[in-house]
């Protein structure tokens, strides 16, 4: 700990306090939410209405403006849960558990969004809504991993025990994700599927990728806002017996 700057160490210690998190992030939410809404609105309108159609896929490619950010956040969310799990098991930081609780349903929702948009895109492009493609299959398994964490959390009554159980499961899961991914890729090469990849599409011109970049940034902020709000709710629920939450409720209702 000697080499860590003082400010960072203080921040780390403060993060041990859910109350500090609640009070600090309260003012962030409207700003982050506003920025997310703006970025997603500009990126989506640009992507859907102004970007030119793809020379190969026509208009159907436009779903990437939703699909790509959702798919990337689906995976990032699981890794975030595992990182929180390590922090919870090593430093017993309650806040990490609350973040983990908040991320699970949000990550599952993004995973579902990625699967749904992918399948809608598959209909005009591949001629079918569902195909056992390697990537689709591993994202489906990721959804199952999320559902497992949510199920385990619901099944254990005591939140402290539930948090640590979910932390172990998330860590085991995150080690398995690359293994699952590679094994599924390998399974595909064994089964020799018809190749559906967009063959040798040229690098996108800026008018196509700038809206994607805006949407990726916007979705990141949306994810952050959702996690912060979820964590804030979780802080209030877990700390409902403490005086500061009671005072807060009295002030809000007065």
């Amino acid at each position: 700990m000697k080499y860590i700057p003082d400010g960072l160490r203080r921040l780390w210690h403060r993060m041990g306090s859910p109350r500090w998190f609640f009070e600090t992030t309260g003012s962030w939410v409207p700003w982050l939410g506003g920025a997310a809404a703006l970025l997603i609105a500009v990126g989506t309108v640009w992507g859907l209405a102004f970007a030119p159609p793809d020379y190969l896929q026509g208009d159907s490619f436009r779903i990437i403006y939703i699909h790509v950010p959702a798919a990337y956040l689906a995976q990032a969310g699981y890794i975030l849960m595992a990182v929180c799990g390590v922090i919870l098991l090593v430093w017993r930081m309650k806040l990490a558990d609350m973040v983990m609780t908040a991320v699970a349903p949000i990550g599952a929702a993004f995973t579902f969004l990625a699967l749904a948009t992918g399948s809608i895109w598959g209909k005009p492009t591949w001629g079918t809504y569902w195909i056992w493609d390697a990537r689709i299959t591993s994202v489906l398994i990721l959804l199952f991993l999320y559902l497992g964490i949510i199920g385990l959390r619901r099944a254990i009554e005591r939140p402290e025990a539930a948090g640590r159980a979910c932390a172990i499961l998330a860590i085991v899961g995150v080690i398995n994700i690359p293994i699952i991914k590679y094994s599924v890729d390998w399974w595909m090469t064994l089964h020799q599927p018809a190749t559906f990849s967009i063959t040798a599409a040229p690098a996108m011109p800026p008018i196509m990728w700038v809206p994607l970049l805006l949407n990726v940034l916007g979705f990141n902020l949306l994810f952050a806002v959702a996690v912060i709000q979820g964590t804030r709710t979780e802080v209030l629920v877990r700390e409902r017996r403490t005086r500061w939450v009671n005072d807060l409720c009295l002030r809000e209702t007065a």
């Binding site: 025990a161 159980a165 499961l169 899961g173 293994i179 699952i180 094994s183 064994l190």
Partner: protein
Amino acid sequence: MMASAADERSLWVLFRGQLRRDLKLAFGQPSELANPLAFFVVVITLFPLGVSPEPGVLAGMAPGVLWIAALLATLLGLEALFRRDRDDGTLEQMVLRAQPLYLPVVARMLAHWTVTGLPLTLLAPLLGGMLNLAPEARLPLMLGLALGTPVLVLLGGVGAALTVGLRAGGVLLALLVLPLFVPVLILGVSAAELASSGLPPSGPLLWLAAGASFAITTVPFAIAAALRIGVEVG
């Protein structure tokens, strides 16, 4: 701190004692021993009835059917893995002992594999023959099961330890561990499929061996940590 010779000896005694106890308990309940095996056979019988008794069709799906049945049979045995020990308080004593939980957990899993994974492995070539599996695929199938079922049992052990205190743990356990079984299933099936189409199955088998070594060395730590939580949950 250096471990003295006496410490090492006591760990070995602990390991052997745990193994002997668990094997004795398992063999003392022949029905519990036989049920997963009977389940394995019954599930496999359903496939010719439900899909097709055509020898060609059966041969094509035999590796997958055998592996999925083995997966489900393993899953079936998992729920009871720590349940009885938890109910009579043995598990708490295990957790409270001064020695690390790693070795007793390895012993427990080894005993469990001896009564579930090993018989499945030995029975598989016979059932493979009934499903018209190519003769040259039978040995790779067996090797795959021998290397893969320890991984299944260990990964399942994490799920079983996490859900040990829960009343409705069974379905949740399946949801927790089945996605983690996917790589083992793919590698095991592809070893048998490669062999039945005349190709060398060593690639997936070596990967399974690597996975088994990794799982045997690391997963017991996760099971031990999960048991400490599982004891609290009830």
